[in-house]
Amino acid sequence: MSNASKNGNGNGKYKVIGTRPIRHDGVDKVTGRAAYGIDTHLGGMLYGQILRSPHPYARIRGIDTSKAKALKGVRAVITAADLPPSEADEVLNLVEGSFRLKDLRSNILADEKVFYQGHSVAAVAATNLHIAEEALQLIEVDYEILPHVDDVVAAMRDDAPLLHEDLTTKEFGEDTGKNSNIASHIQFKLGDLEKGFAESDIIVEEEFETASVHQGYIESHNATAEWKTDGQLTVWTSTQGAFGVQKQTAAILGLPVSKVRVVPMEIGGGFGGKIPVYLAPQAAILSKKCGHPVKIVMTRADVFRSTGPTPSSYVKVKLGADNSGKLLAAQATIAFAAGAFPGSPVGAGAVCVLSCYAIPNGLVDGYDVVLNRPRSAAYRAPGSTQVNLAVETLMDEIAVKLGMDPIELRLLNAAEEGTRRVDGAVYPVVGCRETLEQTKVHEHYLAPLSGPHQGRGVATGFWMNAGLKSTVTANVNEDGTVNLMEGSTDIGGSRASIAMQFAEVLGLPAEAVNPMVGDTASVGYTELTGGSRVTFATGWAAYEAAQEVKKILIGKAALYWETTEDEVRFEEGDFVHSTDPEKRLTFKELAGHLVDLGGPVVGTGAVDPNSGVGGSFTTCIADVEVDPETGKIKILRFTMIQDAGTAIHPSYVEGQMQGGSVQGIGWALNEEYFYNEGRMQNASFLDYRIPTCLDVPMIETVIVEVPHPDHPFGVRGVGEASIAPPPAAIANAIYDAVGIRLHELPMRPDRVLAACLAKEEAEAATANG
């Protein structure tokens, strides 16, 4: 175990890495000064509102905006007619996937059809919010209501209502020409499945379903746009990636990227949901029409109905093992509800489903399915949580059947260096086994339970982590501090983690580095904050920038001492004259002389690391108590054990682990999109039940450090994996407590009670019969 998790004094190997300095953006955030997207306020700014479809599926026969336009205070009203026309096959390639431009535009302003309740149909700009709101009521839309489908299994049937006439199923990358709601069918194969099952002594197989859940960020979506008369568009928004917003907005509006500048404001949570654009294009067109900046902010109901949710899923898994517990074969069928347009993370789900174990024979089929719900978005380890529930519940069943300790079973099968995953990738050094070993000896795992109807469950999870492009630019100030311009919007304390990696190279205190997030016009290209990549990749860029600064400063010291560069060494944070060790300059002293030493000291790190298939593994322990009369569950204790590679700022690593745990608990217990007739009923935080402080205990964490073999400091991303295993751990704990297996998320009290009552009845029947 890393000592980083126990104290704040670093881990011995490094000076800055592993310590817990106060984050650079902390004071502004706790004093309320930090400027979020919603705080944007420009002179002459107008307010926009979006008209949204009340129907889950309908053809738009016509839109009459004349009455709205005539309302005093209304400056512009727009519809899909104000977007450029789309070619059928135009595709926009983004790191998160390739999307038909037509679909991206339709999601911004629906043209022929609305595909979900909440689908954007028209937008208004007015002198104030209330007038804009009133104008929405004056827009007349003539809808022809169509029969809708909002269940993933139903949507796959041949007789289901079709969403897109021009959507044909791609099977294993080939277009089948078959019209259907199944956008794609992917498959991974390894070994000989039939042989594997034939040799198995135990086979377990179950079907699982998970509900659509929302990322639940506190800050709602927002965008302010100013389209100036010179044709230059600026967008201020809260986003996980300014360059992604630039690309999407430019493509949707038919502009070159150079015409769009995106200023990322502070962000109040994203978890994957603030990668797509929802408002910037509408605000931009409105601004162009009326010559003023236009700001649009979503209500919470709009956030729920029109953005983000993660796909609901159907997952069927079959595992085969021998009597020692060794897994011999596994098969998984995964169907994800992409929402109105193709693009669910079913591919990631298919990679993650068997990722924790060495299984010689496997087959995974994944289906990306469109249906009448909002276009789904990424959500922390996208696709991993859905599939984890299935595999980790079945692992528990095998452990129970064999009378084996569930951690021992997992250790016996743990993925390790050299394990070939079903998608073909081979693991380098990974920390799966190490998290399990830490779990086995953890005081929580060994502690006795303290009462009736209590149970304990464990589960292991995985996320693959991304690399991708990042840029950092450093400028040395004459007072010995460094300004660090980086392109990653800071969601989880990444300013600090990036600054600390820079500081480590140059032996500086973290406080001497001043990290700032740049806009698309002021920093080098940087991909989104997501995929657990920022501390890994942007941190790597900071390392490279620091190396360049070091090299330039060695030159400056040589100049100062009137010697050659090879006479200067960098040692313990000081620049030292090799042959005259009396001559020694601290970073700060040298910086103080820079005015007289020629050109500015600027270092750049521009990287595109492949993160390999290392990823991050995590194991968690959940203790629950079930009220057998009401089915209500209380989480008594919860511990998350995760491999961080190297924990740069342990507090923020722990924060990620705790955040992922709590969100996973939310998936497990109560969170769900509740639909009636295709309409979401619970579009508020009152009835969409994310856990409150009282619903979770303090989440305990153990940081395991198995360094990433390629990263200069051994960093692995830690942002996501922790959300995957909590639902399965809780399901297993419920089984341990009251002997029921739930195969559907959320494990709401009424479902728990129904299963408890069914079990009692079955037992009574056996007793009588």
């Binding site: 009401t630 009923q681 009835d687 039940r689 009290p749 009424d750 129904a754």
Partner: protein, 302 residues
């Protein structure tokens, strides 16, 4: 949100005149934790909003052991639970006052608003019914008094006529050897709307062995909060026992006619009525015997 005119009368007669005389829709405002939300959502409309917080009668919070308790319609929850004498005498009220929303909401939310809003799931109503509370109503024809159980007529509807407003709630004085308890079922541990709520008040004999009388109120199991009259009556003169409590719980369950919605399926609600009625009665009995029974907030260690 639609524009409206804000009115803040300082006397009851002025308030009644405004309510009776105004054209268009006049909405009464107490804490606004329902009203403002509903206006913003467009679920309600208003041409005028009349604030009762400046009316002296509505701000009264008066308790005397012999007289009972008067809660003005503008008194927010926090004033109720922060009053030690009231909290000692009417612990069942505190069970409700402490769980309506969170601290911020409790700084504003009133029992009067909770009642007038007439939500089937309102947390204060079952316990007001159990305590035998009455509504004091002012109107153009003068004052009238109505039992709380007769006040709500449908979801969001009550018996107030044009020109009338709720002035206060009155609870009778507390009898010896009596206790009350309200609890609700929510899937989370705070910040939720009752899936089912049950409030019970009991009076026991001196030895704490027999029921003298009992009253039970239910929430979220019918279009209006319910008074489970018969369930309470079944207990009068009965011994305090598992069987008598079970009988009352079953009687309460039999009048529940819940719906299925996003908060819970109907059969589940029906099941909970029995469980919660039993638990509410047990809590009330323990309090009648002088034992400490924590409310939801104390239980969660807040």
């Amino acid at each position: 949100m639609q524009n409206f005119e804000y009115l803040a009368p300082e006397t009851l007669s002025e308030a009644v005149n405004l309510l009776a005389g105004n054209e268009g829709q006049t909405r009464v405002l107490a804490g606004g934790t329902d009203l403002i939300v509903q206006l913003r959502q467009g679920a309600l409309s208003a041409d005028h909003v009349l604030d009762v917080k400046h009316l002296p009668e509505c701000n009264e919070l008066g308790y005397a052991p012999s007289e009972g308790l008067t809660i003005g319609a503008a008194v927010p929850c926090h004033r109720i639970y922060n009053d030690g004498a009231i909290a000692d005498a009417y612990p069942g009220l505190i069970d409700a006052a402490a769980i309506i929303g969170g601290i911020q909401v409790q700084g504003r939310a009133t029992f009067g608003g909770n009642l007038c809003n007439a939500s089937p799931s309102a947390d204060s109503i079952p316990i007001l019914i159990a305590y035998g509370a009455e509504c004091v109503i002012a109107g153009p024809q003068g004052n009238r008094r109505v039992a709380v159980e007769d006040f709500c007529t449908a979801p969001g509807k009550n018996i107030l006529e044009k020109g009338e407003l709720l002035v206060a709630l009155h609870l009778p004085s507390v009898q010896k050897s009596s206790g009350a308890h309200y609890l609700r079922f929510i899937p989370r541990y705070e910040m939720d709307i009752a899936v089912v709520g049950a409030g019970a008040s009991v009076q026991l004999d001196e030895g704490g062995k027999m029921f003298v009388q009992a009253r039970i109120g239910l929430a979220a199991v019918a279009p209006t909060p319910l008074f489970a009259r018969e369930a309470g009556q079944l207990l009068s003169g009965k011994e305090v026992s598992e069987e008598s409590i079970e009988t009352a719980a079953l009687a309460a369950q039999s009048i529940a006619r819940p719906i299925s919605d996003m908060r819970a399926p109907a059969d589940y609600r029906k099941h909970l009525v029995k469980v919660l009625t039993r638990r509410a009665l047990l809590g009330a009995i323990r309090r009648a015997r002088g034992e400490f029974v924590p409310n939801a907030v104390q239980e969660n260690g807040q």
